[in-house]
């Protein structure tokens, strides 16, 4: 049920924060907003009654709906009317506003070079919106450094925060429809679809939208179902019976299990939930590597109005001193930046050699700061962040702002065994692992015996049902890990091991429960929670938010910057003067990225000499352009030969579209 009620609450607790002043300074205010509990209760689970079905703990409440988001954004603007501007850059397919929030630090000019921050390209990734809001508040509240009271101690003065000179354009939620669907407890595919939609018949059977995944058992969750089937190709892993894996054919194994989304076969075609309404994914809607002919891709890049509006927003911002972008997404280029391939005419994922040092330096510092190490990059096809970098030439990093952690199953098993011995001594060291016949789910056992699959008995304890009981003898690599196991399977094993090691994270993998499927008969429902890989643990959220601030600070420090070097006027005699201007690229990154240089998307810088009216230009041009400043000193020199009166003043100014503007003067000797 989708509950809405108007209440006056402190939003920071609603967002699951430890303390409003610590994480969302200024947000410890009362708002008239609407709380939208998801079907999986956001409150702490109650102790199960004796003999009751085991309850899976609920995810922490990090969700805010569109109304709450708007209230937060408006409040922020109200509190900082001179440094925060809120506007719509479009409307979603479902008619929801697409917000653009522009904030700047106290030292930033309204036209200062800016960074674009985009969050929640997949609206289900609600935590990204929270990161975006946190960064907005951080920029607005960045305080000046404390001045040392002791003049002798001035060297110890705190460094001014780069956020104070930061201008940040924030898209806090690029996919509001997706967020609302999550908050309503509906499947992803229940999001609105464009009118006259192209993708209404995903299974190409000539019938319009049928049914996608659905909540069959009424537990408020659409998870997975697994069952024995004549076309089954998987089997239950002996070591980790919560997971299915490919069989080891060389060992004579064969598969009989299938795993599908929790769904029905409405049209009797032996496919389950294969024709949901909305299949086009915003995250796959951008030109680079656009995965044409996949359901997620849509008929063309920019088919969804959200994608098109976002690209048009960038094109507009390019006229407003935009120099870089940080995109929170499932695809990550921050932690392990790679170099793009130089083969072929078409751009490939990764940084050009000229930009790679910049990315690697930020990555290195980020890892030092956050203790977040390398991880898979994710799917790069059709990604927005690639479009920003490869095709628009903006310094762009993509950060997966949360990733489900992994642990070594062996180490966790050893810990569990120790704990077991300490607790009750029931599991002695060297105890043999409970093996397949006992562990095999009930449905398989029944089928193996030649009977119709029957549901497994309800486990008395969720932990028992979901964790393999092992002793220390199992410290060797589990059999499932060495053969018939894909990298994905191994990753899931390690993620399960981490979940098992945590006290409050069992909700991420739902205990398999027997269920009588209306089409299939006995099946098991459970498996990965839809939010398992999206929402960070409550205990980690502060760490991730702090990491985001550090990352933004570092990005701000690396903003391109061009400055005057020398400006000289050399008298040659007889009123002839040689003017020379040196421009220096003093930023951490060249003011024209290698990608922008390749894409020719960035305007060059302009240098203008303002000569006295009574002077005569003899050699050179009064307006000169400069591109990327190459060479060891990253500078360029510009000369003019003029005839002018001694004592005249020559004014010189330069302007760039992303690295500032400045002017200087020289008086002719």
């Amino acid at each position: 049920m989708h509950l809405r009620r108007s209440i006056s609450i402190c939003l920071a607790p609603l967002l699951g924060l430890a303390g409003p002043a610590a994480l969302l300074p200024g947000w410890g205010l009362s708002y008239a907003c609407q709380a939208v509990p998801t079907p999986t209760s956001a409150t702490a689970p109650e102790e199960p009654a004796p003999g009751a079905e085991p309850q899976t703990p609920a995810p922490p409440p990090i969700e805010i709906d569109g109304i709450q988001l708007e209230a937060l954004l408006r409040d922020l603007v109200q509190r900082h009317p001179d440094r925060a501007v809120l506007s719509e850059y479009g409307r979603s397919t479902g008619g929801r506003p697409l917000w653009r929030l522009e904030v700047r630090g106290e030292e930033a000019a309204p036209d200062a070079p800016s960074i674009l921050l985009v969050a929640a390209l997949d609206g289900w990734r609600c935590f990204e919106t929270r990161v975006a809001l946190h960064l907005a508040e951080s920029v607005l509240s960045a305080a000046p450094p404390e001045q040392p009271s002791d003049a002798a101690n001035i060297e110890a003065a705190a460094v001014d925060s780069p956020l104070r000179s930061c201008r940040l354009v924030i898209v806090p939620r690029a996919d509001p429809d997706g967020a609302e669907v999550r908050l309503a407890g509906l499947p992803r595919e229940a999001r609105p679809i464009p009118p006259g939609s192209w993708a209404r018949d995903g299974d190409r059977d000539g019938q319009d939208v049928e049914l996608g995944p659905q909540d069959l058992d009424g537990d408020g969750l659409i998870a997975w179902m697994r069952f024995v089937h004549r076309d089954g190709r998987l089997l239950v892993d002996e070591a980790e019976p919560r997971l299915l894996r490919a069989p080891k054919f060389e060992s004579g194994e064969s598969g009989r299990w299938r795993q599908e989304a929790e769904s029905r076969d409405v049209d009797g075609d032996q496919r389950w939930g294969e024709d949901p309404a909305a299949q086009v994914q915003l995250g796959s809607q951008f030109p680079p590597g656009w995965p044409e002919h996949t359901a997620a891709a849509g008929p063309w890049p920019g088919y969804l109005t959200e994608a098109r509006a976002l690209m048009d927003l960038v094109l507009a911002l390019e006229q407003e001193q935009l120099w870089g972008a940080l995109v929170l997404d499932s695809y990550d280029t921050l932690v392990e930046p790679s170099e793009a391939s130089a083969d072929g005419r078409l751009p490939t994922p990764g940084f050009l050699a000229g930009d790679l040092p910049w990315a690697k330096e930020i990555s290195r510092r980020f890892q030092e700061l956050s203790d977040i190490k390398a991880r898979p990059r994710g799917d790069s096809t059709g990604r927005f962040e690639r479009w920003l970098y490869e095709q628009r030439g903006l310094y762009t990093l993509a950060w997966r702002s949360f990733d489900l952690q992994e642990a070594d199953p062996k180490a966790e098993e050893a810990k569990a065994a120790d704990a077991g011995v300490a607790a009750d001594g029931a599991e002695a060291p060297g105890e043999v692992v409970v093996t397949a016949p006992e562990q095999a789910p009930a449905a398989e056992k029944a089928t193996a015996a030649g009977a119709a699959p029957t549901p497994p008995p309800a486990p008395a304890d969720a932990t028992q049902a979901t964790r393999p009981r092992r002793g220390r003898a199992s410290n060797s690599a589990p059999t499932g890990a060495t053969a018939g196991a894909t990298p994905e399977f191994e990753r899931e094993r390690r993620q399960l091991a981490w979940i098992d090691s945590q006290p409050d994270e069992a909700w991420r993998f739902q205990t398999w429960k027997a269920f009588e499927h209306p089409d299939l008969g006995p099946v098991e429902l459970g498996g990965w929670h839809p939010l398992a890989r999206l929402d960070p643990p409550a205990a980690d959220q502060t760490r991730w938010l702090e990491a985001s601030v550090g990352l933004l600070e570092d990005l701000c420090r690396s903003a391109p910057r061009v400055e005057f070097g020398a400006l000289t006027a050399k008298a040659l005699g007889n009123g002839l003067y040689e003017l020379e201007v040196e421009l220096q690229d003093t930023g951490r990154a060249p003011f024209v990225s290698a990608a922008a240089q390749r894409a020719r998307t960035q305007r060059p810088g302009w240098l203008t000499f303002e000569l006295p009216t009574d002077s005569t230009l003899l050699v050179g041009e009064k307006v000169q352009r400069f591109e990327r400043l190459e060479g060891p000193d990253q500078s360029s020199r510009h000369k003019l030969l003029i005839s002018a009166a001694a004592g005249s003043t020559i004014r010189v100014r330069f302007s760039t579209h992303n690295a500032g503007s400045s002017s200087s003067e020289v008086t002719l000797p």
């Binding site: 000539g206 951008f286 690209m311 894409a599």
Partner: protein, 661 residues
């Protein structure tokens, strides 16, 4: 000759004003049109009892020539052009019973019911005027839909042509467009010719009638109406005004379209500038014809030329030291389509993302909404080419079965279009990322061609003219009476000083001269019809009903595509584009037990049994190929009548009936 029919005379007046009707977008003109509406009744064409689809008020207003010119929403202001002048005598003769019917390409004693001068090229409002005249004359056959507007606010009109009896039927369709590049204009007239030809001959040619009964045409005369009008009304040359008119900062100086070429001599064309620099140039004048510049290769110790070429007419409008570096627009709407699209730095003109411009997006949405489109033709100029994809080598090859279809049509095209060559874009011309016909085939699985209209070899079919400018100038002098070349004239340029300006007019080089236009239109239009005739046509045959034990019958059916284009291309099958074909058997008193395609014509027991929970419907993702009949068997029980139906997105559904004992 009979006396002029007053109704016909009035009708011709109506058509003559139709171009101006296209300008009727102001509230005043709309009020006027409404006011005049009641007067329109007698103007209806007498032979048809159906009502005109155009608004009566519009017709009347058009007939009296009262309406104002088109006003673009933004961008350049279109100018008014004279309405097309229709020959009253010809219209009168169209009522003449003594003439032979139709106008099938035979000239003797034929007079079309609507005369359109085919020796001219038309600016947009005149072009739309001709189309509207056809629509007014054949309202049940031909109608217009506005699918969007250009950057400049001009209408993008798609004209639909099909037999009235097929109005509500699912028919395979052909999409034809032209003029995506503003200067490549004559495709629009070829499309007009195609519509005119079909409508003129639909009552007299059984083949035309059959075609229109089974194929629908979607005709978009101008993809780039802004560029077209700019080419007609602005100073241009044969290659300029290719882009649309959305301002672009081509030179990245923060200003948009601020330094275009300039018509310095005011002759309406952008010709060339040359400067005399004795002993310092790269050219010399041809002693036999000083209009012609002969290049002089630099070699040490050899004299250099006396002239340099300075490019298109123009001045440094923005005072940045460069000439003509940021003209109108500066993009290419034939590089903007989703399949194998590449960014601007790889493919010039591509824009920031596919379908960025409203014209391209409107077309994509229309085509996507019409999955029955099974053939595409796009007209460009020039060079005499019948082009197909792939546009870029990394794409690889098209599937063999589709290539065979392309080859058959392309080679027929070579026979129909003298000096045209059937070519693969990347291999035989140049690499194109994001081309329109690449998208329609690679993205949508539609057999698609681009014709680059007009080959200059037609100026001298037997090669008696010399190559190059010498031949061009001879042709200009002898067959154009000098009209196509602006003589070099002195001009005092603000940057270069004394120079000369001159050269060929904009309608020389890429469009045929007036007297060769009709042939170009006819041959290209008929190539389209060849393509359209190849759209799939499925036949069903009930081969046999065989009684089997247990009150079961085996019903054998043959499905056959009589035409060259398969109901689903191999590309569509490979990529899962669109819906599979479906063969279904239904009957009120039947139960279908099993079904499947037969794999051996002599052994009916060889069957691939259906896995569909409903065996009454067989899906065929591979479609039906030409001359490869497929046999199916249904096992049924019951009695009475039954119906068999074959349907596909790119074929008209076909049904046959049968009866069980």
């Amino acid at each position: 000759m009979k006396a002029p029919n007053p109704l016909a005379t009035a009708y011709v007046r109506l058509c003559s004003a139709m171009a101006a009707l296209n300008d009727a977008r102001t509230p005043r003109s709309q009020r006027l049109a409404r006011h005049l509406g009641d007067a329109c009744g007698p103007l209806r064409k007498p032979r048809r009892s159906t009502t005109l689809r155009l608004l009566p008020a519009t017709l009347a207003a058009c007939a009296f020539g009262l309406l104002a010119p088109t006003r673009a929403a933004s961008g350049s202001e279109p100018r008014q052009s004279p309405a097309p002048a229709h020959d009253t005598a010809a219209a009168v003769a169209s009522q003449d019973n003594e003439r032979l019917p139709g106008f099938p390409g035979l000239a003797a004693n034929r007079r079309p019911s609507i005369e359109i001068p085919w020796n001219r090229l038309y600016p947009l409002n005149e072009l739309y005027g001709h189309f509207d005249c056809l629509a007014a004359a054949h309202p049940d056959w031909f109608s217009a839909t506005t699918i969007g507007t250009s950057v400049g606010g001009r209408e993008l009109r798609v004209y639909q042509l099909a037999a009235p009896q097929a109005a509500d039927l699912h028919l395979p369709a052909m999409w034809i467009d032209g003029n995506v590049h503003g200067n490549e204009v004559q495709g629009s007239e070829a499309i007009l010719y195609l519509a005119w030809y079909l409508l003129e001959n639909k009552d007299s040619s059984p083949r035309v009638a059959e075609l229109l009964a089974r194929v629908r045409f979607y005709l978009l005369p101008s993809v780039n109406p802004d560029g077209r009008d700019h080419w007609f009304y602005g100073a241009n040359n044969a290659s300029s005004s290719r882009s649309g008119i959305q301002p672009l900062d081509s030179d990245r100086d923060g200003l948009f379209d601020e330094d275009p070429a300039n018509d310095l001599d005011g002759d309406g064309s952008l010709t060339q500038m040359r400067k005399y620099l004795p002993g310092e140039g790269d050219y010399r004048l041809d002693p036999s014809d000083p209009r012609r510049m002969l290049p002089v290769d630099y070699q040490p110790g050899r004299p250099r030329g006396d002239w340099i070429m300075l490019g298109e007419e123009g001045i440094d409008d923005d005072q940045d030291g460069r000439l003509n570096e940021d003209g109108l627009g500066g993009y290419d709407m034939n590089r903007a389509w989703p399949s194998f699209w590449a960014p601007n730095f790889v493919q010039f003109g591509a824009g920031p993302y596919p379908l960025y411009w409203p014209e391209t997006r409107a077309i994509a949405e229309f085509i996507l909404a019409h999955p029955e489109i099974g053939a595409v033709q796009s007209f460009h100029n020039s060079g005499g080419m019948i082009l197909r994809g792939p546009g870029a080598e990394p794409f690889g090859e098209y599937p063999d079965a589709d290539t065979e279809v392309y080859n058959a049509l392309g080679r027929d095209g070579e026979k129909m279009l003298p000096f045209y060559r059937y070519m693969v874009i990347w291999r035989d011309l140049y690499t194109v990322f994001g081309g329109f016909v690449n998208w329609t085939y690679e993205g949508l699985g539609i057999i698609s061609f681009t014709n680059e209209m007009w080959s200059e070899r037609r100026l001298s079919p037997d090669d008696r003219l010399p190559d190059g400018r010498e031949g061009d100038l001879f042709f200009n002098d002898s067959l154009l009476f000098g009209a196509g070349f602006t003589p070099w004239q002195a001009f005092d340029h603000p940057l270069y000083g004394p120079i000369e300006i001159g050269g060929f007019q904009k309608d020389v080089g890429r469009v045929p001269p007036s007297f060769l236009l009709e042939e170009e239109h006819h041959r290209n239009a008929l190539f389209c019809l060849r393509h359209a005739e190849a759209l799939p046509e499925v036949e069903l045959k009930l081969l046999s009903i065989t009684p089997l034990p247990g009150q079961v019958f085996a019903i054998d059916i043959e499905a056959h595509n009589r035409r060259l284009i398969p109901t689903r291309t191999s590309r569509a099958t490979q990529k899962g584009i669109g819906l599979p074909d479906q063969l279904s058997l239904t009957g009120p008193d039947l139960r279908i037990l099993q079904s499947g395609p037969r794999s051996d014509r002599f052994r009916p027991e060889l069957l691939t049994l259906s896995t569909n929970p409903n065996p009454g419907t067989i899906q065929r993702d591979e479609g039906l190929f030409f001359d490869q009949p497929l046999r199916y068997r249904f096992f049924v029980t019951g009695s009475g009548p039954f119906q068999i139906r074959y349907q596909g997105q790119k074929a008209a559904p076909v049904e046959i009936d049968g009866q069980l004992p």
